[in-house]
């Protein structure tokens, strides 16, 4: 199998796993709201990152998890379509440039939002303000986002060169 096929399959599997995870998270939220929140609180109360002890905190965290998850799912969806387009379609199209740009911006936006939410949630839930998230991971993801935006600019230049080449008689 070609490396491009591998990349496409890896992105597809990750996308569907994320969708399944998101549906499970939604199920947990609905279960906590309508059936029994105590069982979920017991599990979350022992969690390493956040020790959630009230219902409101549980709903807030799960809702945020759903929103953030939806954004990552959308990013992967655009990425999956972009890779398919790169493999099977013509190169350097406007759609590919826009997709790279959008994915880059969304990754930066979501990473900053996630980092901020961790700080805010910790400050509110644990009444303490400290940054414990891995700064290397944060900057690495931001770097990927900026690289994708840079890649979209390269694709834009390549599109202009291709157009110029196509219109050379």
């Amino acid at each position: 199998m070609r490396s491009s096929e591998w990349t496409k399959n890896i992105f597809s599997v990750t996308y569907y796993l994320l969708v399944i995870g998101w549906i499970l998270l939604l199920g947990i939220l609905l279960y906590a709201i309508f059936i029994n929140s105590d069982e979920i609180l017991e599990v979350m109360g022992d969690a390493e990152e956040f020790q959630i002890k009230s219902e409101n905190a549980l709903y807030t965290c799960l809702t945020y998890g759903l929103l953030s998850g939806a954004l990552w799912i959308y990013i992967l969806y655009v990425f999956k379509n972009l890779i398919q387009n790169l493999i099977y379609g013509p190169l350097f199209t406007k759609l590919q440039i826009a997709s790279f740009n959008l994915i880059g911006q969304l990754i930066i936006f979501t990473s900053i939002l996630d980092a901020l939410s961790i700080v805010i949630v910790k400050a509110i839930l644990n009444s303490r303000l400290e940054i414990e998230f891995d700064l290397f991971d944060f900057w690495f993801v931001i770097a990927i986002g900026t690289f994708l935006i840079f890649l979209s600019q390269i694709f834009n230049k390549a599109r202009m060169l291709k157009q110029e080449n196509d219109l050379t008689v």
């Binding site: 157009q163 110029e164 219109l167 050379t168 008689v169």
Partner: protein, 69 residues
């Protein structure tokens, strides 16, 4: 664009059709149409040479610069 292609006028003078020229210089009619309509971004010297050879003219007869300012 400031560069005008006068290929149609030269073709009329020679009594030649576009598809005949395209065949003679070995380019597609679509590419010749791009050149004639002024959509082309560049012209290869080899194409220009072939056009001049077939139409027995100078590059200046085909290309004209017009100051748009």
């Amino acid at each position: 664009m400031a560069i005008i292609i006068n290929l149609d006028a030269v073709l009329d003078k020679r009594g030649m059709k576009s598809n005949e020229l395209a065949e003679a210089i070995n380019i597609t009619t679509a590419n010749l149409s791009i050149l004639k309509t002024g959509k082309a971004k560049a012209v290869r010297f080899s194409t220009l040479e072939a056009i001049c050879k077939v139409l027995e003219c100078q590059p200046g007869d085909i290309l004209e610069y017009i100051d748009e300012d």
